[in-house]
């Protein structure tokens, strides 16, 4: 079972429309979430500004592309829900939030190994933030 991590800790999935890959988007009665791979080309982000939910994959914690994709979506004006999914570490939670993600989706095994307190330890991601300070 997936666990959704936010600043308040762990919660179950509450997004009910499900997800489809970017290439499979079709007109539908439900606002699907859109799944983006970590190697999504920046040009493919154009036109996603009105999506309800975007979920970016982290195949490995060492693959930092998702952080830049998130930042690009936000700077292009995307206001919807933005989720990092996959192998994200508790130590990367602040990076995810600062890059523009709202939440992180991890699997049960990772949630068992890195329990909620370890994630909540970085719920203070707005503090000590050099980049926010420099941008003013």
């Amino acid at each position: 079972m997936s666990v959704i991590v936010t600043d308040t800790g762990f919660a179950p999935e509450d997004f009910t429309c499900g997800f489809v890959a970017l290439s499979d988007i079709a007109a539908n009665d439900c606002d699907y979430g859109i799944d983006l791979a970590s190697d999504t080309a920046p040009t493919a982000l154009v036109g996603l500004t009105n999506a309800a939910m975007i979920r970016i994959d982290f195949p490995s914690f060492a693959d930092g592309r998702g952080f830049t994709l998130a930042a690009m979506l936000r700077s292009a004006g995307y206001k919807g829900r933005l989720r990092a999914k996959g192998h994200v570490l508790a130590d990367q939670y602040a990076m995810a939030r600062r890059s523009g993600f709202d939440e992180v989706e991890i699997d049960g095994a990772l949630a068992a190994r890195q329990p909620a307190e370890q994630w909540k330890f970085r719920a203070d991601w707005q503090n000590h933030n050099y980049q926010a300070r420099l941008r003013g």
Binding site: A41, P42, F61, A62, D63, G64, R65, F67, T68, L69, A71, M72, S75, A76, L89, D91, Q92, A94, M95, A96, R97, R98, S99, R113, Q114, P115, Q118, F121, R122, N127, H128, N129, Y130, Q131, R133, L134, R135, G136
Partner: protein, 556 residues
Amino acid sequence: MYTYTDFDEAFVRERVAQFRGQVERRIDGSLTEDEFKPLRLMNGLYLQLHAYMLRVAVPYGTLNPTQMRKLADIADRWDKGYGHFTTRQNIQYNWPKLQDVPDMLEALADVGMHAIQTSGNTIRNVTADHFAGAAADEIEDPRAIAELLRQWSTDHPEFQFLPRKFKIAVTGAAHDRAVTKAHDIGLRMVRNDAGEAGFEVIVGGGLGRTPMVGKVLRNFLPKADLLPYCEAIVSVYNLLGRRDNKYKARIKITVHENGLEKIQELVEDRFATIRAGFSGHDQDLLAKIEAAFAPPAFVTKSIGGYEATRLANPAFRSWTDTNLAEHKANGYAIVSISIKKHGATPGDATSDQMRVMADLAETYGHGELRISHEQNVILPHVHKSDLAKVYAALRQVDLATANIGLASDIIACPGMDYCALATARSIPIAQEIATRFDELEIEHEIGQLKIKISGCINACGHHHVGHIGILGLDRAGVESYQITLGGDGTETTTIGERAGRGFSADEIVPAIERLVTGYLGLRRDADETFLQAYRRLGKQPFKSILYPAQDKANAA
């Protein structure tokens, strides 16, 4: 000099607390070794051949006496009483214990220092001209910009898991002492036609297994655009850089494979968006940082008996001939303290030596010290009337070697003595070469010569840009040393050319001796340096000196 604001202080304390937690979580199993690795690397902790190694940042190479004394205390308390200054203006401790590292970091935080981002696939410690603020040929002190970049790159949320490491160097002077063309981003301060200071932005330089000279991405970047422009470059690289092959992951390969024009187009496009997010607050902060780097209050006084002492004391005279550089203020000199005593490990300083250097900086040097990428320590502001006293104090602790810029002022990476990646020894080769030239007593006659040694293809010893470069390889279990010639790391950056077949550990020192004494016979006059002679004559005469037998065989 910049000192930490409350914000900086709170940040490093918080970071130490996080790392303490990460060490505990590694020990209790919350973090696997694989997951812990990038976290310890982000805090400067490597696993070496025999032990952990902690690499402490000396941002843009600048230290005050209190910081230097703390480095000495750390060496005594948690290491073996010495530290090693590196080619990236850092200091490394080779023997810390994992459980002590959070305390070492706490001790560093006490004096406004850290080990953040000194390793890992992130933006590394920003380096700068070690003569910054003192050099006579400077447009502006580049350290303010380097500090701004330090703040921007520190803990940058997008850039902690880049395809590969990312190095930035800044220089404010026409003469490039920061090797900017061998960095992922090199920034050279220039003026435009209107007289405003800005940057020439160089991208994609680097040494390692595929050495490349950086290319100009932008001729003139206004100062105010620096952070968003750098952010655009790294953002483009983060998505475009290769992650399938670690040897092709540096931005130099990204630039090479995609072409400079394509990168330019992508960067300018990304820059337009990112620029809009900066409201100008960074420039207010920069103004404060610049004020903090205001020059010290230089005094105008007589240089006393300086010239008379020089005449009376030949050893002092020789030291002043080699170890001083021109200062922008009247009556002052820039002192380079050689951490390259003949036969010693290049870059290693004991805690006692560190304390003496700290005291000298405090008493005679306006409270400033620098670490150079050439692994020496600099007292940037010493009045000439004090030089004799400084020299005498340095002599007491074996720091008065008069060899800056000469054959024995060798850059050498740690090599097989410490480094897990090494394919050959580099420190002992440096020691033997230095000892040999000392015996021959010809290094002053030889003049300016840069010998640089790396213990493997990763080129931490910058051998590609040595006038003579030595690369230690492993050929079927036997060390083999390859020589490159004609490299140059200044504003006229050149990658050295391979001379020919490698030399065994026994042959390499005699080969270097042959090469250098041979040059003495080739040069036009005593003013023509090794590099100039090489450029004039080309590789052939030097090759004939290196491989005499082979040459004969060819002729026969």
